[in-house]
Symmetry: C2
């Protein structure tokens, strides 16, 4: 039988143990909450101290690359598709200090995504937009996020998507500044294309081939450049989405390298476009097998099947005709997009579907529904008359160097 003294001792022991336990719990929770945040920063500073997350970006001004880097905070970008390319795209924009990001995706994180950057194994099972927002807020709490966990191609969602890109800007009621397509299927690309043609919204397309070794980015200005429906499917060969492929026990290949490069080229083009520096690329391809980077520009197709594309083309022509000559010269200097482009090329009429078909000759047998978006140049047999890849690039370089 316990005495009063013994019981009092026991109470004191238990109280001490409980205090220790609670202290430990607090410490764990404190550590967790500290881990999740850095304080918000009101104004971007160029001060060179270890604690300034913007010093290396603001240095772009001192280096003479960007005139007004702080302007990045005024822009809103919508990223559609938060997979291998979209997630890295969103992370780059977040780290650059973009004003607001809208993320659209209906997929969940899986361990099968771990061969690409960004998502981590403990996030498996979470929706991609939810997992991405959590990580991105932690990286940069100065960015505003708006996420939508749905498929933009269904009727209701498409209407909502249209509404958000029209009114979901940093200042509610204003449109977004740019839409980035980082989706993996034709249907979603066509949905974005339809929305942008109707709204006259500038967007950028991106894609990676199913064999993982090529990709591209493309700037689309409705009425001014070819829209996604204008051009032959040079860039996306498979009209079947990943889910369909997986059902047959087949999946596309992917590499963190190719997807990282495509995301990097895409966001670089976004920065050049928004902050007005360098030359914005209309189309930039990446062939990883040969380290070949084709560029081009495509005029819109007057016979395009998208009726809004036709209307945008008419409006663009009208605007161009109305523009006084003198102003046009001034604008050409300011608008980076217009530099060094003569719009003289219509790929529509230059390359036929049959030619494109023939071009994929070097590719081995592929599962149904999978075709490569880019062609691998066929290696010449001995005595062939074409110049090898390396030599050609080398000549190019030497010519440039001599020119300088």
């Amino acid at each position: 039988m316990a005495t009063v003294e013994e019981l009092k001792l026991r109470v004191r022991e238990l109280e001490n143990e409980l205090i220790k336990c609670k202290q430990k719990q607090c410490a764990v929770e404190d550590a967790q909450s500290q881990q999740l945040h850095r304080p918000k920063i009101d104004k971007m500073s160029a001060e060179v101290v270890d604690s300034n997350p913007y010093s290396r970006l603001m240095a772009l001004k001192r280096m003479g690359i960007v005139d007004d880097y702080e302007k990045i905070r005024t822009f809103t970008v919508a990223v559609v598709g938060v997979g291998g390319v979209g997630s890295v795209t969103a992370e780059m924009l977040t780290r650059c200090g973009i004003g607001k990001l809208l993320l659209f995706d209906y997929d969940k994180v899986e361990l099968a995504n771990m061969n690409r950057l960004f998502f981590q194994p403990h996030q498996a099972g979470l929706s991609k937009v939810e997992a991405a927002e959590h990580t991105l807020r932690n990286i940069n709490p100065d960015v505003s996020f708006e996420t939508h966990n749905y498929n933009i191609t269904t009727m209701d969602n498409f209407t909502h998507f249209m509404e958000r890109i029209s009114y979901g800007g940093l200042e509610e009621g204003k449109p977004v500044d740019l839409i980035l397509s980082c989706v993996d299927n034709y249907e979603a690309r066509m949905a974005i294309n339809t929305a942008c043609n109707e709204l006259g919204q500038i967007w950028m397309e991106s894609g990676v081939s199913e064999n993982a070794v090529s990709g591209h980015i493309q700037l689309i200005i409705p009425g001014e450049t070819a829209c996604f429906a204008c051009a032959p499917p040079l860039v996306v060969a498979a009209n079947i989405d990943e889910k369909t492929l997986k059902r047959d026990g087949v999946c596309a290949a992917s590499l963190p390298t190719t997807m990282g490069v495509v995301a990097g080229l895409l966001v670089q083009n976004v920065l050049k476009f928004l902050l007005k520096f360098g030359t914005v690329s209309y189309y930039l391809g990446y062939n990883a097998m040969q380290d070949f980077f084709p560029t081009m520009a495509m005029k819109p197709n007057p016979q395009c099947t998208d009726r809004y594309c036709g209307r945008q083309q008419e409006e663009y022509k009208k605007k161009e005709a109305e523009r006084p000559k003198v102003e046009a010269v001034q604008e050409a200097e300011e608008e980076v997009v217009h530099e060094d482009n003569d719009w003289g090329i219509e790929l529509v009429s230059e390359v036929t579907d049959a030619e494109l078909q023939a071009a994929s000759g070097a590719v081995p047998d592929l599962p149904e529904g999978i075709t490569v978006a880019y062609t691998i140049p066929v290696e010449e047999t001995e005595g062939g008359e074409t110049v090898g890849e390396t030599e050609q690039s080398l000549e190019d370089l030497m010519a440039r160097m001599k020119k300088l």
Copy 2:
């Protein structure tokens, strides 16, 4: 005065509270430990299920890109410098399932690094190699890691570095398969160059310019290609490390885009080299302002100041002379590195320092110690005879298409 009954009641209450507190603590710790790991995977499988982190990589075999993807697990790569390029490089290799990674860096994570991919704000203050290992192990526990938190350029550390690259392979006692230089200063590059020339170790160099808008990767095979001491400092202009610059309240600019692209091109070249597919690039540049990607190859300089480079050149010549003709043809087909290269170019004698100096004319005033590694092609005034960037690439593309 408390009675025995009251005290007993208090003891029971406290015991219950303590149990609850401990349970909660366990749950938090469990959640943390679950977050940190996925189970190890003994054998890479191509099975297409959501839980297989290697399905999209193994699909490279079915796509006809890589013959033996599983071989990736037998390779060891050393990454020197775990900053903006090195951290992403290590992450890509980890996600690809490399056998072993050795990481070398002496720096700490700072909030000022948050404008590049990989590190997160809660890691500020940790050593870069420690923080990187923690994140990378979590992403892929199948990879072996070895980290060294020191500066390789001091005498003792250099000796240890030499030892680890000589014997720190996946199978202890074997050398590493490849060294990747992802450092930000000339001294560290020279240290790696010295080590690799002495050991005859193949390595790849990488770099990003101080104005953040260009970068490069380079494959160096001692005796066979130009070493870092053979060539003029085409690729790294500043002979001063970041620490010195920061002392003067000045820092180099950097962008997650450029660093992500360079890391992607570097690891892509590593994969092509190790897994023998595509064409391995000897030198690949990235000019972000114009989306221009120069390639070239450089012969070693017979007058190179590094005496081990001279010895490696002698050995290479001997080996080449001894190699029977027939075998040489067979090997040329197998060894990807040798394809399409005629080694006819010595940049050393083609471009003088003065020409390189003159080439940087378009660059604005920069702080002392900062110069750009790449030149921005000077824009031609009207009536100039050179062909614009876009048109040239376009012609190139059209020629290729017609060829196909």
